[in-house]
């Protein structure tokens, strides 16, 4: 399974639709302080099912919707789409290789979950992601400023890092 493309629109500081193409190997994101790099990281976590606003550096989910800049009003919806290519699971697997998951959040607080452009239930997206090996906790994020925590944590707290892999 490989990631192909990520689009953000109305997600945090990405007011306008912005697209990133993933490559084999290392895809680099660079730029000055505060320009939005970690926001791209948050977008990937969010579209892959992260439900906790604190893990996305927010206080509440509505913090994820673009809420204005000089000369630009807040937006009503945040949308992130992730396009990926599945690896075939044997010769009997006749499903199309291309697949996409998406997520929207509206100012009303309502959420929408997308699978191959269709609005579905959250559990449908979760199941599809699990199949491709991208379920929650199945991919790794090593976060800015949080690397040291595995050493500064007490011995008991460190277990949780292993629990996820077990």
């Amino acid at each position: 399974m490989r990631l192909k493309r990520l689009t953000l629109q109305g997600f945090k500081s990405f007011a306008d639709k912005t697209e990133f193409l993933f490559d084999e190997g290392l895809t680099g994101i660079i730029g000055p302080n505060g320009c939005g790099k970690s926001n791209v990281v948050d977008a990937v976590k969010w579209v892959l099912g992260d439900q906790r606003p604190t893990s996305l550096r927010g206080k509440e989910m509505l913090d994820l919707i673009f809420n204005g800049a000089e000369g630009r009003a807040p937006m009503g919806c945040s949308e992130v789409l992730l396009f990926l290519e599945r690896a075939p699971e044997g010769e009997a697997d006749t499903r199309p290789a291309d697949m996409s998951v998406g997520r929207r959040l509206f100012r009303s607080g309502e959420s929408e979950y997308l699978l191959n452009n269709q609005v579905v239930r959250l559990k449908d997206v979760k199941e599809a992601l699990m199949d491709t090996g991208l379920g929650v906790g199945a991919y790794s994020v090593m976060e800015q400023g949080k690397i040291d925590a595995v050493l500064s944590a007490n011995p008991d707290e460190r277990r949780s890092i292993f629990d996820e892999a077990a």
């Binding site: 007011a15 190997g25 791209v40 630009r72 460190r158």
Partner: protein, 165 residues
């Protein structure tokens, strides 16, 4: 289950010893699973001895040495059950040039089976990326993306973009 945890731990421990040696170009490290009724004692103990130095409490390690040791643990666990995708957000922040180089060499060992999204301020890390996206806020408060070539980064022609909002 307890057995599964033990197997995961043993495998991670082996990877940790090896990755630590690669990141430090020598030295020795270990992790120990301490079972105890005393919750203050139970858990995972970490030992790290950089090359040429004596084994000491990990609190005495330098900032950069702690980053390398922590990365060795995180990648060791990752290697037990590698995912197809992994995000690194400025994990190289505390490393000097020589250690960034060693970190990238270890990263290269994972690239075959895993796609990495790497946020960085280090030019040496940028040099190892297949593609580079520069994020800017040309209109204040609104992020936009531009593709950037490594040649542009190294010539300093994008310093205004990668370093100054």
């Amino acid at each position: 289950s307890r057995e599964l945890f033990q197997r995961t731990f043993d495998e991670a421990r082996e990877h940790f010893q090896e990755i630590f040696r690669m990141l430090f170009q020598g030295g020795k490290a270990d992790m120990e699973l301490i079972e105890s009724d005393d919750p203050l004692e139970a858990g995972i103990e970490i030992y790290a001895k950089p090359p040429g130095k004596e084994l000491r409490n990990i609190r005495l390690l330098s900032g950069g040495e702690r980053t390398l040791t922590a990365l060795a643990i995180l990648f060791a666990v990752f290697k037990v059950k590698p995912s197809p995708f992994c995000i690194l957000d400025e994990v190289d922040a505390a490393l000097d040039e020589a250690n960034v180089e060693r970190f990238l060499r270890v990263l290269a060992g994972f690239v075959e089976d895993t796609q990495f999204l790497v946020v960085t301020h280090h030019k040496r890390t940028m040099a190892d990326c297949q593609v580079l996206y520069g994020i800017t806020m040309q209109r204040k408060g609104i992020s936009s993306r531009m593709a950037v070539s490594l040649a542009e980064v190294e010539s300093g022609r994008v310093d205004a973009i990668i370093d100054a909002p």
